[in-house]
C-alpha cells in the first residue's frame, strides 16, 4: 500500500536534492568549520553558502540568520533573549492560538512576575488589531504572534502588526515555521524583528532551525560557550543539517509558484470534493487568508481519532484536533479559541499538502472519505438513521 502523506504541517519528506547535498558532510567532510586546517575550513565555506541561501529566501542579510536546532529553540530564544535584553519591562503580548512552543513559554513567564496578554480570535480565527493596539504600552517588552496557524492555516496580517508594534519601540517576534517556503517574504522591507523557522517543515531534515534577528534588535545570547553564530548561539554547527536547510531554502524559493498554484489547486480540489460528498462537514478558519496547502475540516457527530484510523487503513495520513488523539480530554485549543462547537471540534481533520502530492492521491481520498464518514455516523448515537 502506498502512503498518501497529507500531514505536511507536522513534518515533511526530506527532498532528494537536500539529502544529496547533505551526504558528503556526514562521513567524508566531517571537519569542524571552526578549525584552522583546510579540511575543516572547506566546511565553513559550505555553512556560509547555506546561510546565504536562507537569507535569499527570507530576503534578509546573511548576518541576520542564526542557526538553531529547531523551531521550538528559536521561539524560546527569541522570547527569553528579548526579555533579558529589556529587563525593566514586564509585559508580553501573544495570542490564544499560538503553537505550544510559544504559548507554554509565555504562560511560564507569568509565574516569574510577567503580565501575559493572550489575544483572542474571532470565529474565523482572525485577530482584532484594535485589541492589540489597546494592549501596547510602555511596559510591553515583546509581542509574539505566529505568521500562520499550524492547525487551520489562517494567516495573520503580520506586516501590519509588526508596524504597529515596532512604532511603539516594542520588539516583535513571529513564529513563521508554517509560512516559510509557502508564502514569499522580504524581511529587509519588513518591520519584523525576530522570526523563527524550522527546517523539517520545508523538506530539510529535523534538528535544524533558524532564528532571524534583524540588525539592531536587542536580544541576549542564548547559548554561551563558543564564538559560533556571532557568539549568540554557541555550539558546534550541525553542518549536514545546515547544508540541507540551505538546499531546502533554494528549492522552496524555486517552488514558491508551484506551491501557490498547483499545490493550492490540489488542496482546493480535496476540500471541495470532501465538502460536496460528506454532509454536515465544514471548513474551520478564514478561507481567504490561508496557507495554500492546508485545510481543516470538521465532521459533525463523529470523532477525529476514529476517522484517522480508518484513513490510515488506506495509507492516508492526516491529523486531528480531537481530544482523543492528544491524550488530553479536551479538543484543540485553537478550535476552542475560535468558538468551534464541541460537536465539530472533536471531529476535525487537518489535511496539509506538499509539492510531492499528486492529483491521484487527492482523488483517492475524495473517493474514500464518504464511506469512512458514513460508517462512523452509522455507529453514532447522535445520528438517527
Amino acid at each position: 500500500m502506498n502512503t498518501i502523506y497529507f500531514d505536511n504541517n507536522a513534518t515533511t519528506k526530506v527532498a532528494e536534492e537536500v539529502f544529496e547535498a547533505m551526504r558528503p558532510y556526514l562521513c567524508d567532510l566531517y571537519g569542524n568549520p571552526s578549525s584552522m586546517h583546510t579540511f575543516g575550513g572547506q566546511v565553513g565555506i559550505k555553512v556560509r553558502e547555506a546561510r546565504q541561501r536562507v537569507a535569499d529566501l527570507l530576503g534578509c542579510d546573511p548576518g541576520e540568520v542564526i542557526f538553531t536546532s529547531c523551531g521550538t529553540e528559536s521561539d524560546s530564544a527569541a522570547i527569553h533573549g528579548t526579555l533579558v535584553a529589556v529587563p525593566h519591562k514586564h509585559k508580553v503580548i501573544t495570542t490564544r492560538v499560538e503553537h505550544p512552543a510559544v504559548l507554554a513559554v509565555c504562560r511560564e513567564l507569568e509565574s516569574h512576575g510577567y503580565t501575559v496578554i493572550e489575544l483572542g480570535v474571532d470565529k474565523q480565527g482572525r485577530l482584532d488589531l484594535g485589541e492589540l493596539e489597546d494592549q501596547l504600552d510602555d511596559d510591553t517588552a515583546l509581542v509574539t504572534i505566529m505568521s500562520a496557524n499550524n492547525e487551520t492555516g489562517v494567516i495573520f496580517p503580520i506586516e501590519e502588526i509588526a508596524e504597529r508594534v515596532t512604532d511603539r519601540g516594542i520588539t516583535f517576534h513571529t513564529d513563521a515555521v508554517q509560512i516559510v517556503g509557502k508564502v514569499p517574504l522580504n524581511l529587509s522591507k519588513s518591520r519584523i524583528n525576530l522570526l523563527s523557522l524550522s527546517g523539517h517543515k520545508l523538506h530539510a531534515p529535523k534538528g535544524v532551525g533558524v532564528l532571524y534577528v534583524k540588525k539592531g534588535t536587542r536580544i541576549a545570547p542564548f547559548l554561551l560557550g563558543g564564538h559560533q553564530e556571532g557568539g549568540r548561539r554557541a555550539g558546534t554547527e550541525n553542518v549536514p543539517g545546515i547544508v540541507g536547510l540551505g538546499q531546502a531554502c533554494k528549492l522552496a524559493a524555486e517552488g514558491m509558484e508551484d506551491e501557490n498554484t498547483r499545490v493550492k489547486a490540489l488542496r482546493d480540489k480535496l476540500e471541495r470534493g470532501i465538502l460536496k460528498s460528506c454532509p454536515d462537514s465544514r471548513v474551520n478558519g478564514d478561507v481567504e487568508h490561508r496557507l495554500p496547502n492546508t485545510t481543516n475540516i470538521s465532521f459533525e457527530y463523529i470523532e477525529g481519532e476514529a476517522i484517522l484510523l480508518l484513513l490510515d487503513r488506506y495509507g492516508i495520513c492526516a491529523s486531528s484536533g480531537s481530544a482523543c488523539t492528544s491524550g488530553s480530554l479536551e479538543p484543540s485549543h485553537v478550535l476552542r479559541a475560535m468558538g468551534v462547537p464541541f460537536t465539530a471540534a472533536h471531529g476535525s481533520i487537518r489535511f496539509s499538502l506538499s509539492r510531492y502530492n499528486t492529483e491521484q492521491e487527492v482523488d483517492l481520498t475524495i473517493e474514500k472519505m464518504p464511506e469512512i464518514i458514513t460508517r462512523l455516523r452509522e455507529l453514532s448515537p447522535f445520528v438517527t438513521t
Binding site: Q135, A306, C324, G327, S328, L329, E330, P331, T343, P381
Partner: protein, 293 residues
C-alpha cells in the same frame, strides 16, 4: 499514535452488535458530544431473564467503539445480576489492555450497562441520573463514580483517576477533592497530600499576605482558569478583602460567580488565610479585555 492491541483494532474495525433494538427492555445512555464520547446501550431479555440481544451506538475514538463492542459480547447470555458483575477491568482485560489514558472508555461501558439495567428495572422510568455530589464540574463526574473507579482499579493518583473517569481532566479545580477521595478509599496507604501548601496560620505581614495571595493565584488558581480560556488578575488587597478581575473567557462566563466562590476564594483560604474573602473589581467587570494599568 496509540498502541492498540490487535483485539482493540479488531473490535474497532469490525464492531459487533452495532445498532438499535426496537422495543428494547433496557436502554442506557451515557456521555455527551461535549465530553468527546457517548454510548447508547440497549438490551432485550429472553424468557429466562437472560440477555438475548445487546446492541450499541457509540460516538468516540477507536477504544470507545471497541469497548462498546466487547461489552455487548460479554453480557450476552448473562442474567442482569451476572451482567452487573462485569467491571471496567474485565472489559479492558478482554481487549488485552487499553492505553492508560483510554481507560475511561471501559468505565463508560460499565456505566451504560448500569444505566440500561436501571432503566429496565424502573420500567423505562429511569434515565441515567447522576447520583451524589458532583466533584468534577467540567465532565460531570460524581463522588460515587470516582470512589468506585479508585476502589475497583486500585488507583492511587489524580492522574490515574482522570484516565479512568475523566474527573480532573478539565480545569483541575477538583484535584484536591479527588486526592481526598483517593486517601479515603485507600485509607492509610496514602499519606498526606503532596501539594506543597505554604505554612499557614502564623501571622502574616501585609507584604507577606499580598505576596502569598499573588503566589496562590499564579500557582493554584490561574492554571485552572487557563484551561477554560480565562485568566485572573490581582487588583488589590485591602485587609482581608482580595479584589480580582477576570479576563478572557472568564470575563463573559456565566459561571464567574461560581468560580469566584468555589475556586478563587476556596484556594485563597486554603493557602493564605481563612479570613479572606474575594470581590470582583467593579471597573474591569464592565470593561472586558481591558488591561488595567
Amino acid at each position: 499514535m496509540w498502541e492498540y492491541t490487535d483485539k482493540v483494532r479488531d473490535h474497532f474495525f469490525n464492531p459487533r452488535n452495532v445498532g438499535e433494538i426496537e422495543e428494547a427492555d433496557g436502554v442506557g445512555e451515557v456521555g455527551s458530544l461535549a465530553c468527546g464520547d457517548a454510548l447508547k446501550l440497549m438490551f432485550k431479555l429472553d424468557e429466562n431473564g437472560r440477555i438475548a440481544e445487546a446492541k450499541f451506538k457509540t460516538f468516540g475514538c477507536a477504544s470507545a467503539i471497541a469497548t462498546s463492542s466487547v461489552l455487548t459480547e460479554l453480557i450476552k447470555g448473562k442474567t442482569l445480576e451476572e451482567a452487573l458483575n462485569v467491571t471496567n477491568k474485565d472489559i479492558a482485560d478482554y481487549l488485552g489492555g487499553l492505553p492508560e489514558q483510554k481507560m475511561h472508555c471501559s468505565v463508560m461501558g460499565r456505566e451504560a450497562l448500569e444505566a440500561a439495567v436501571a432503566n429496565y428495572r424502573t420500567g423505562g422510568q429511569e434515565k441515567h441520573e447522576l447520583e451524589g455530589k458532583i466533584v468534577c464540574t467540567c465532565f460531570g463526574v460524581t463522588e460515587e463514580e470516582i470512589v468506585r473507579v479508585v476502589r475497583e482499579n486500585n488507583l492511587t493518583t489524580v492522574e490515574q483517576v482522570t484516565n479512568y473517569c475523566k474527573a480532573g481532566g478539565g480545569c483541575g479545580g477538583c484535584h484536591g477533592e479527588i486526592e481526598k477521595l483517593i486517601a479515603q478509599v485507600q485509607g492509610e496507604k496514602i499519606k498526606a497530600p503532596p501539594a506543597p501548601a505554604p505554612p499557614k496560620g502564623k501571622k502574616l505581614t501585609n507584604i507577606q499576605k499580598i505576596q502569598l495571595v499573588q503566589q496562590t493565584i499564579n500557582e493554584q488558581i490561574r492554571p485552572a482558569l487557563r484551561a477554560h480560556g480565562g485568566n485572573i488578575e490581582l487588583i488589590d488587597v485591602e485587609g482581608d478583602k482580595v479584589i480580582v478581575a477576570f479576563r478572557g473567557m472568564c470575563a463573559q462566563c456565566k459561571l464567574a460567580e461560581f468560580t469566584m466562590k468555589d475556586v478563587v476564594e476556596a484556594k485563597l483560604r486554603e493557602f493564605v488565610s481563612d479570613d479572606l474573602y474575594v470581590e470582583e473589581d467593579g471597573d474591569s467587570a464592565q470593561e472586558e479585555h481591558q488591561h488595567r494599568e
